[in-house]
């Protein structure tokens, strides 16, 4: 199997076959990453994944072999996700100031929405459980959410995350620790009950 880095060299030379392999290999995981980063907005995450590939192609001349390609690609996606959040938060603030009854475009999971502690109750549906996880993730600061998603959904190594986010491995670990503690605090009240009830089902 050809390495991503060799395929990236193919992109620099305009090879369509190499592009197809890279998109097939990375599109779905990238959508999964962005889906969690956007609070479960499927269309938004697909648009952003496409935009990520487009930006990667436009900037492929700046890619230097043998730098790891996957972190390079996800660094682009992470920047897009951060910009998306900044815009969403700005819109939310402006909307709240002008019209308290209007809803913002980023309404899938409002970042500053209060988290109902008893959300993960026994007997709730899978969808409700997923929504509660999404809310808890959305409530995390961007830099905590990024490392949590890359680590526990994408199952990246600490070194890969450090490379993609341009931070030391030690910082990745401390952000993971803080992020997980934040999530646990929000999910604690009914966390055990939820898992047991799910297992019982």
């Amino acid at each position: 199997m050809q390495q991503d880095e060799e395929l990236a060299l193919g992109l620099q030379q305009g090879r369509k076959d190499d592009l197809a392999v890279l998109v097939q290999r990375h599109y779905s995981p990238l959508v999964g990453y962005l889906y969690r980063m956007t609070g479960g907005d499927r269309m938004q995450s697909e648009d952003m994944a496409q935009e990520t590939f487009l930006r990667a192609l436009r900037g492929i001349a700046s890619y230097t072999y043998p730098r790891p390609f996957k972190p390079w690609l996800y660094a682009i996606a992470t920047n897009l996700a951060r910009n998306h959040h900044m815009r969403a938060e700005t819109r939310q603030t402006l909307t709240a100031e002008t019209d308290t009854t209007a809803t913002s475009e980023f309404e899938a999971i409002p970042v500053d929405a209060p988290l109902p502690e008893a959300e993960l109750i026994a007997g709730e549906t899978e969808q409700e459980s997923a929504q509660a996880v999404a809310r808890a993730l959305a409530a995390l600061p961007d830099h905590h959410r990024e490392v949590v998603v890359l680590r526990y959904y994408q199952e990246w190594s600490l070194a890969e995350i450090a490379e993609a986010l341009s931070i030391p491995v030690g910082t990745v670990k401390s952000r993971l620790s803080l992020g997980l503690r934040g999530l646990r605090t929000q999910m604690r009240p009914n966390l055990g009950e939820s898992l047991e009830a799910d297992d019982a089902r």
Binding site: V23, G32, L183
Partner: protein, 300 residues
Amino acid sequence: MHDNPFSGNPADQKDAALKARLRAMLAEDLDSAEEADALLETVLLLRRWDAAETQTMQIDSLVQQLAAALPSETWFQRLKRGVSQSWPLQVLIAQMRVVRGAIWWASLLVMLIGTLVTLGTYGQNGNTLLPLAVIAPIVTACGVALLYDGETEQMLELENATRVGGVLLLLARLALVFGLNLLLALAGSVLLALTYTEVSLWPLVMSWLAPMTFLSALAFFLSVASIEPLIGASFSLGLWVVHLSLTTQAGDNLLLSLLSLPGLRVAESRPALFLVSALLVIVALWMVGQSEHRIGDQHL
């Protein structure tokens, strides 16, 4: 909990494998088995939030759209990429930082002075020996001699562990220092030929190129053999001084003519000088290779 790894149910086995994997990741992240256990449920709950799989058709359609944005590389860009990604060039660039800065500046300064003095004094007193042709060989030889010393030998073990190896790294440094001096002397010669129309470029270049190559190779060889750069530099410098001084004094004296090593600058001996220079460099690099093995064996 449905995580019995001995259960026959594939879904249970998959769940158990996921749980074990996530627990191992948590233990690595938190540097604590207890904390990993405490946070495992949180992470297991996170994983229940699935993102639906993308359709193959969706990916195919995206590839078609993106193909339009694929860059079309011009021949110049292809050449540039090929050069920048070639490993010899990458080795050379990396070694530029390793060579002592004083060597670059000393070469630049002395060659500049030599060129200016040559330009200013050309044609005076009927002197046929140009200062540039006197300076270029010995500046290069001294620079090259300084490439190998006791410190370099100590670094061989480390360099030998690199993908390129210590011998090639040393060869790259040799090429860099010799190359810089070659370029500087060439630039000075071109300037001289442009300033004085009676100066022919090719004979001028050959008057310093052969002795420069030979004296540099000799200095390099002696530095490697003695692990003392001063010996290499001093011997080459001494040889050059003897040659220059005796050549002017020899006249009809056969003994002095022989002692002045006339072969260093006559056209007929140039092929032999280049050949001997190549041999000296090859033998020196072979000796470095042997030192690498010897040092490596000592640490086994």
